[in-house]
Amino acid sequence: MQQFFQALFSGLADGSIYASLALALVLIYKATEVINFAQGEMAMFTTYIAYALLTHPHFGHTFSYWPAFFLTLVIAFVFGVGLQRVVIKPLERASVLTVVMATIALLVILNGLAAWIWSPELKFFPSPFPTSTWVIGGVHISKQDTGTFGVTIACVVVLWLFFRFTKLGLAMRAGAVNPVAARLLGVRTSWLLALGWGFAAVLGAVSGMMSAPTNFLSPSMMQAVLIFAFAGAILGGLESPVGAVAGGLGLGVLLSMLGTYVHPVTPELRLPVALLILLVVLLIRPAGLFGRVVVRRV
């Protein structure tokens, strides 16, 4: 039983990282039907920016963790908006496939730039949480895992409140559901897409900064996480933000349980297992657990 709860909690912590990246994917997908393959590398790049803020003196002093964290979120937002404006917007009238190719180009560029600027070696990234554990009823609960879960879920909730209760959030939802009608009602949909990229970048930055302390900082650190996020998003349904979060969390817990109880599933098999889950979900419920089946009108 203790083993079960330990696997559950560490699975939830991993899962919350997948969930925030999965939500970032869904944000962009819902608005434009584009899968942003650069999402993971954007997260990685902003995590390097946080690293730079933490280690190099800027304007005479280095930042402590939380100021650097929030400053990184602001930078990530500007970065995401900027990428949409500069790279994606010129392809507004191009086909979805072309835009997807452009995000793949972004993936390559960001990956190369990070290795170029900061060298491809693994780097240690600090964690704001202590490495000690709480012991409740014989179950060791890591403070690191709890903090990771708390921070990512808090960001997701803040984003949900924004979409649910602000006028801008309403406009963004309208732009995603029916861009033409929204534009006719005076919503500037093009800029809303840029905002969506900004929020996705912020979510990515959170997932990057939360996964870096345990997985170390490197240019390829988010590639596996991105695949888990894909699998989570598909599990929950690419159309559904709630589904993406639930799918990410569920996948984290599932992989953690498999690792604990099914011995042939070694860490090397985490990715193949995620791929298998992804394929099985596509076969049985292509719209995901929370998605609706889209009927196309000819």
Binding site: P90, L106, V108, L269
Partner: protein, 343 residues
């Protein structure tokens, strides 16, 4: 007229293949052998991406499957290396079919999503079963040597083997896309709804295209293993899969001859052209152009520029020069309406 141009083009290609090793150093000849290997892989991936309109970010792993089949058969079972090539192709093709069966049943972005997981999963599997694959250390093949009583330098030998296979595969790809299957592939790319209405099984065609493309990549992978004489899990990183896709776009998706440009790009951008291009900039700004990652930045930027300026790739530019008509990227047609096409 078009087909006559095609025959002339193919004859020029064969002539170039015959002449090239006579005027090249051994090292350059060895590099050109890799152009042939990448050409085979690109021809395969092009059947999926260019002709069927499905993006795959995982075909580097099918090269890996072919390479490991060849290596295991040669090292552990004592096969002649050239005889392993068909087996490498078939095993990779079957793996492609098995993967494509669930993944290609759905329209939209799901295929690209699922394929993105293949290279990393493949590396995980290689490391999980080390007694079979050699694990992280990989396996060493015997060095390249000429066979059948022919005495040639090893670079020249692998050059000829690769290019003969590549030319055969080129003709095979040509016959595939020209016939009934090719029409079915293009109909799926241009409009899945119209294809279904005309009685084309879109899922079946996509799965078949996936299998065929994996078969091509498997053969390329077998040759790759023979040429580099060493495989390990890092030989087939996710970058390779992405580079193949970049090669397709650059050469011109949906054009067979364009793949020759694509293959030249894939082989030379990393080692020769990328650094040369960066050196131009380094004379202006003092940057370290040999740093890791710099070549990635170059080919990412090149890909973006191609998407903006010449979405039909090198083949599109050539066609534009010959015919005076602006070419639209074949795979970018999906999602455009007929009215937009006419405009």
């Amino acid at each position: 007229m078009r087909s006559r141009l095609g025959y002339i083009g193919f004859a020029v290609l064969v002539a170039a293949v015959v002449v090239a090793p006579l005027v090249s150093t051994h090292y350059r000849t060895y590099q050109l052998a890799f152009v042939a290997i990448y050409l085979i892989a690109l021809l395969g991936l092009n059947i999926l991406t260019g002709f069927t309109g499905q993006i795959s970010l995982g075909h580097g792993a099918f090269l890996g499957v072919g390479a490991y089949v060849t290596t295991i058969l040669v090292v552990d079972h004592g096969w002649n290396d050239l005889l392993t090539l068909p087996v490498a192709g078939v095993v990779a093709g079957v793996a492609g079919l098995a993967f494509g069966l669930p993944a290609t049943r759905f329209a939209g972005p799901y295929l690209a999503l699922a394929t993105f997981a293949i290279p990393l999963s493949f590396i995980g599997l290689l490391k999980r079963f080390p007694h079979f694959t050699g694990g992280t250390l990989g396996k060493q093949l015997p060095s390249v040597h000429s066979q059948f009583g022919i005495h040639a330098n090893s670079s020249v030998w692998i050059y000829w083997v690769s290019w003969i296979v590549a030319l055969v595969m080129f003709l095979l790809a040509f016959m595939l896309v020209r016939g009934r299957l090719g029409r079915a592939l293009r109909s799926v790319r241009d409009s899945e709804i119209a294809a279904t209405a005309s009685g084309v099984s879109t899922a079946g065609v996509k799965t078949l295209a996936f299998g065929i493309s994996a078969f091509f990549c498997g053969i390329a992978g077998g040759l790759f293993a023979i040429a580099v004489t060493y495989v390990n899990p890092d030989t087939f990183p996710i970058d390779l899969s992405i580079l193949l896709l970049v090669g397709i776009v650059l050469g011109g998706a949906g054009s067979l001859s364009g793949m020759i440009f694509g293959a030249l790009f894939v082989e030379f951008i990393r080692i020769t052209w990328g650094p040369a291009l960066l050196d131009l900039f380094s004379q202006v700004h003092h940057i370290n152009t040999r740093a890791p990652g710099s070549s990635l930045v170059v080919y990412g930027v090149v890909l973006l520029l191609v998407l903006y300026i010449a979405p039909a790739g090198a083949a599109g530019l050539v066609r534009q020069l010959l015919t005076g008509k602006t070419a639209v990227a074949a795979w970018a047609k999906q999602g455009r309406t007929a009215a937009e096409d006419q405009a």
